[in-house]
């Protein structure tokens, strides 16, 4: 039992601590043999782990959809078959001709591209209808949002704004250069300090969510 706990908890924590300390040392102290030699290796490992994540996610996706097909889930199972066929087709193309193959390129250009563009366009139209329904100045905060939205559209996105009133552009730029900048600065400082604290907590073993180990 104790060995199992060590394997599940202490070992990952130890790996995190060693890797984290080495990367911090490499960042702050230049020329330190331990860190300067080991950090490039760690970076390579990270790339390799990342490389494993992709096939793993494909595998879990295939398993999930095979379950749907096996259960014949109403309204879903035929889409799962279609998805598996496409995955197999793309994998076959990728392995035989690489990403420069004719069929691979054509599948992307004539199937994926129109579908993705349609989805983006549809989202725009849904946002349009939704903004009519819900974008009401019920509260001062909502009113601020509406004014900001008008300013962004008339001063930045659509040139017609500056035809209606030439001041929209400079006004939007003023808000961008000063108000937005101040907000972003506060945001960046806040998130950076939080990230540092989170990093320290993770290295010290207080944050264990990435291992799915609850205290």
């Amino acid at each position: 039992m104790a060995t199992r706990i060590h394997l599940r908890r202490t070992l990952p924590l130890l790996i995190t601590l060693i890797a984290g300390v080495l990367i911090i040392l490499d960042f702050f102290v230049s020329g330190l043999p331990v860190s300067s030699q080991s950090v490039p290796i760690l970076s390579k490992w990270a790339t390799i782990i990342w490389g494993f994540a992709m096939p793993y996610s494909v595998l879990t996706l295939v398993i999930d959809h095979l379950k749907i097909i096996k259960k014949q889930t109403p309204g879903r199972w035929y889409y799962s078959i279609w998805m598996l066929v496409l995955i197999a087709l793309m994998l076959y193309q990728g392995f035989t001709e690489g990403t420069g193959g004719d069929l691979y390129t054509e599948l992307f250009t004539y199937m994926a591209a129109p579908v993705l563009s349609t989805v983006s366009g549809m989202l725009g139209l849904y946002a349009l209808a939704a903004s009519f329904r819900v974008w009401h100045a019920r509260t001062p905060e909502a009113l601020t949002m509406i004014i900001a939205g008008y300013l962004v559209v008339l001063g930045i996105i659509a040139p017609i704004g500056e035809i209606i009133w030439p001041g929209f552009g400079p006004l939007a730029n003023f808000f961008n250069d000063y108000v937005f900048k101040a907000e972003r600065t506060v945001f960046y400082i806040g998130t950076s300090v939080s990230a540092i604290l989170l990093g320290i907590r993770t290295l010290l073993g207080y944050e264990t969510y990435y291992m799915r180990v609850e205290d």
Binding site: G124, R133, A137
Partner: protein, 281 residues
């Protein structure tokens, strides 16, 4: 009269399909018959243009093209315009796609859209090279900055990197005069500032979709210029005096957003009038 059958309630319950159909008509109209709305060029777009303009011939540009297919309409023209400017100055171009597997498709679409008179004298492997897609996120990007030859063994066509003349003397961030990051996503921007702007102090230019300019990053020197989506692309076309796809599409964008602002205003008036009627009644 109940609250639900008044004129304001009817307006508030306007069929979504009517809103959508009017929007589609307003988008199509300027595409069929362009209005030619005047465009004011933003200072941030000028910064990008001036930076590129300040470099001599044979300047080496390293590009990460992360434009996804779904947003090609919004981001493609900006990339085409900047490529047009760079090729007009005979820059050497090294490109890869580090963050989206659709990168190879969008890169070649953009490259082929650059005016032929500019790319005709470009020879693959000598003046430009495309390395394809490489997964790995941040670690890949660091490796691209530290040693490109460690990251890639072959280019997009399977030619070994050692056999590509352009890459004989190009291998890390010190060799890239300008770094261009084109993206349709929000996800990796911070990483790009960190790696290219902060750690390696390169001249990073950002082509992105977001309307609001990251002024903090420009002031901090982490990015040297920003072209914002389709609007930025239209501005760039104006600076280059080469009217293209972006200027043509911007009229449609204007009409769509004017309709959006109009119906939001109508929705608000109806919302408050209905509320007032309900109180009075």
């Amino acid at each position: 009269m109940t609250e639900s059958d008044g004129i304001w309630s009817k307006i508030l319950n306007l069929d979504r399909r009517i809103i959508t159909i009017v929007a589609v008509l307003l988008i199509v109209w300027p595409l069929v018959k362009p209005i030619g709305l005047p465009i004011v060029v933003n200072k941030y777009t000028y910064q990008v243009h001036d930076l590129i303009d300040s470099y001599p011939e044979d300047t080496v540009v390293f590009i990460d093209n992360a434009i996804g297919l779904g947003y090609f309409g919004a981001m493609g023209p900006a990339f085409i315009d900047v490529l047009t400017h760079m090729t007009s100055k005979n820059f050497k171009i090294v490109c890869f796609s580090g963050l989206t597997p659709e990168g190879p498709i969008t890169f070649w679409k953009c490259w082929n859209a650059v005016p032929k008179e500019l790319t005709d004298n470009y020879e693959y492997g000598i003046d430009y090279v495309y390395l394809g897609f490489m997964t790995g996120g941040e670690s890949t990007m660091i490796k691209a900055a530290e040693n490109l030859h460690d990251l890639f063994t072959y280019d997009y066509y399977g030619t070994p990197l050692k056999d590509i003349p352009l890459l004989e003397n190009i291998g890390n961030y010190e060799d890239y005069d300008i770094v261009l990051y084109c993206t349709s996503s929000e996800d990796y921007r911070g990483m790009m500032y960190r790696i290219w702007g902060e750690t390696f102090k390169t001249n990073l230019i950002l082509l992105a979709q977001r309307a609001v300019v990251p002024v903090n990053m420009i002031d901090a020197g982490l990015i040297k210029g920003y072209v914002r989506g389709l609007r930025g692309a239209a501005e760039y076309e104006l600076i280059l005096k080469r009217p293209g796809a972006a200027i043509a599409q911007l009229d449609a964008v204007s009409m769509f957003f004017i309709w959006m602002l109009g119906i939001v205003a109508i929705g608000n008036i109806a919302f408050f009038m209905r509320k007032r009627e309900a109180k009075a009644g």
